[in-house]
């Protein structure tokens, strides 16, 4: 299901949690939603799922408004770490309600997932470990087969084997039943290969909206003698500079064409790739005011692929 958000604003009393977001998401893609604690990730997803009403702007999913619209909310599943959908007596009960309230529930698949995560139907949800609760959330989220599925930090407390089981199940089921999936996470290095596109939000604003591979290609580490690094990066968007004695390393954001790359090599500078996590850190650092560092057009301009989605 496609998602269209225009000028979205969410206030908690005096506090503005989401401050003017505009974007659209296409069908059948996995999106990464990255942001620091308190940046507005959970609030944004809560509004997309109809858990909460926006203070301003419009939110449309599948072309229709979301809040208190049963035809739309029935097609949306948001799994939050608090676990409203599972906080009930037994695993069995949680699955009973999911099966009863979810229009596309796949009970056989839910059973298969339970087994994969080592959960039993007779387990008491309240007595489960944090990781087991997260795993149960994943079971409910995947077996719901909702056209818009969101997982808000659904890995919390999971050990590495469980997380890998989650990634494998997510990818396999996504390929078998393509749908729009949004994943919010702080485990950026582990998650980033799963994303087709990434949204980075900071202090309630959308800072970056990019195909994840393109985003990675845009970040470059320029390393070499400090004066030459400074000369080379003049006029470029520099997110961060670190110095070690006479050597400096600058994180540059933006496309470097072949001519510039040649110039760098001729100047004896080393050009290296940057991990998504490092890019994220630099783009959301309090000091490096990201909203200013990244040209507004980058974040706001919808993608070619999505524009075709809008027209549909």
């Amino acid at each position: 299901m496609n998602v269209e958000v225009r000028d979205l604003r969410v206030d908690y009393g005096e506090v503005r949690a989401v401050d003017g977001m505009t974007f659209s998401l296409g069908e059948g893609k996995i999106y990464g939603l990255l942001g620091r604690n308190g940046s507005g990730k959970t609030t944004l997803m809560s509004v997309l799922a109809g858990f909460r009403r926006q203070s301003g702007g419009t939110v449309r999913v599948g072309g229709r408004p979301v809040f208190e619209n049963g035809k739309v909310t029935g097609e949306i599943c948001l799994i939050r770490d608090a676990g409203e959908t599972i906080d009930i007596d037994k695993v069995d009960d949680a699955l009973y309600f999911a099966e009863w309230l979810r229009p596309r529930w796949d009970a056989a698949y839910a059973n298969e997932l339970l087994e994969r995560f080592g959960l039993r139907r007779k387990m008491s949800v309240k007595a489960m470990s944090k990781g087991q609760r997260s795993a149960l959330g994943v079971v409910v989220g995947l077996a719901s087969r909702s056209p818009l599925t969101m997982f808000d930090e659904s890995y919390l407390g999971m050990d590495a084997p469980s997380r890998y089981a989650f990634y494998d199940a997510l990818l396999a089921d996504f390929m078998a039943h393509p749908r729009t999936i949004i994943l919010s996470t702080h485990l950026i290095e582990e998650y980033s290969p799963l994303f087709e596109e990434v949204m980075i939000i900071d202090r309630g604003r959308l800072v970056v909206r990019e195909e994840s591979q393109t985003l990675l290609a845009r970040g470059t580490a320029v390393t070499g003698p400090a004066d030459r690094v400074a000369e080379f990066t003049a006029g470029l968007t520099v997110l961060n500079t670190r110095r070690l004695g006479p050597t400096a390393s600058a994180t540059v954001y933006g496309d470097l064409d072949e001519a510039r790359r040649r110039k760098a090599r001729e100047a004896g500078l080393e050009l290296g790739p940057i991990a998504m996590q490092d890019l994220f850190v630099h783009l959301t650092e309090p000091s490096g005011d990201a909203a200013r560092a990244v040209p507004a057009g980058d974040a706001a301009a919808p993608h070619g692929a999505d524009q075709s989605g809008d027209a549909r």
């Binding site: 959970t42 609030t43 809560s46 799922a49 109809g50 858990f51 909460r52 009403r53 809040f67 208190e68 619209n69 049963g70 909310t73 029935g74 097609e75 949306i76 599943c77 948001l78 939050r80 608090a82 676990g83 409203e84 959908t85 906080d87 009930i88 009973y96 309600f97 999911a98 009863w100 309230l101 979810r102 909702s146």
Partner: protein, 234 residues
Amino acid sequence: MRFPSRLLASQLFFAGLVWAAFYAVVTLITVGIAVFGTLTNSVWESATQVPRWFALFAGVAMIREFLPLYIAHGQTRRQFGAQAAVTVALYAPALSALLVLGYLLETLLYNVAGWPQELARPHLFASPTDVPLVFLEYLVEFLAWIVAGTFMAAAFYRWQGGGLLSIPLGIGLVVLGEAAIGTELRLPFIRFPLGVVSTPTVLTVLAGGVGCSLLGLAMTWSIIRDVPLRNRLA
């Protein structure tokens, strides 16, 4: 969406179990009083002041447990509200029927043992075997207490500590229900005759009970109609 009949059935089954245990305890006390003292009154009559609290917490659980569950599973607040109203309309009479059953069993026991089953308080009914009036009195009482529970739980879910302000209104709903029965107000530590309805008839009681529960549901709805799910559960 189907009505949660399995859920209601399991809740009623649970209420039945609690009732059975409760009845057993009350009977034990009854026999105890008869053996060690003199039994002049219906013990079940005094015991029926406890299940009101059970009804209150049934109302609380409906909001605290099931409202977030419904919304998180893609249902609207409207759908939840409608089903909650139907649930209240079915649950309260079921609880009332259990109390009627308690009176009838007690009458049976007292007759066999030859004890006098006097009523200590004023009621709609003159005798514990007057089934329709016994049922009506407790039905109205349970309706009032359940909606007081949903209303206060909704206020606490929405405003946390601010929900304290809803307590006087919740008590107001309960008072309204008792006034409809027209007997006397029986809250912990306070009891005084209300006399709002001087001579209650079946019709005024029914109207008062239905009115009270509709008012309580409307007050609950005014809070939950656009309530956001909490970001962090306590």
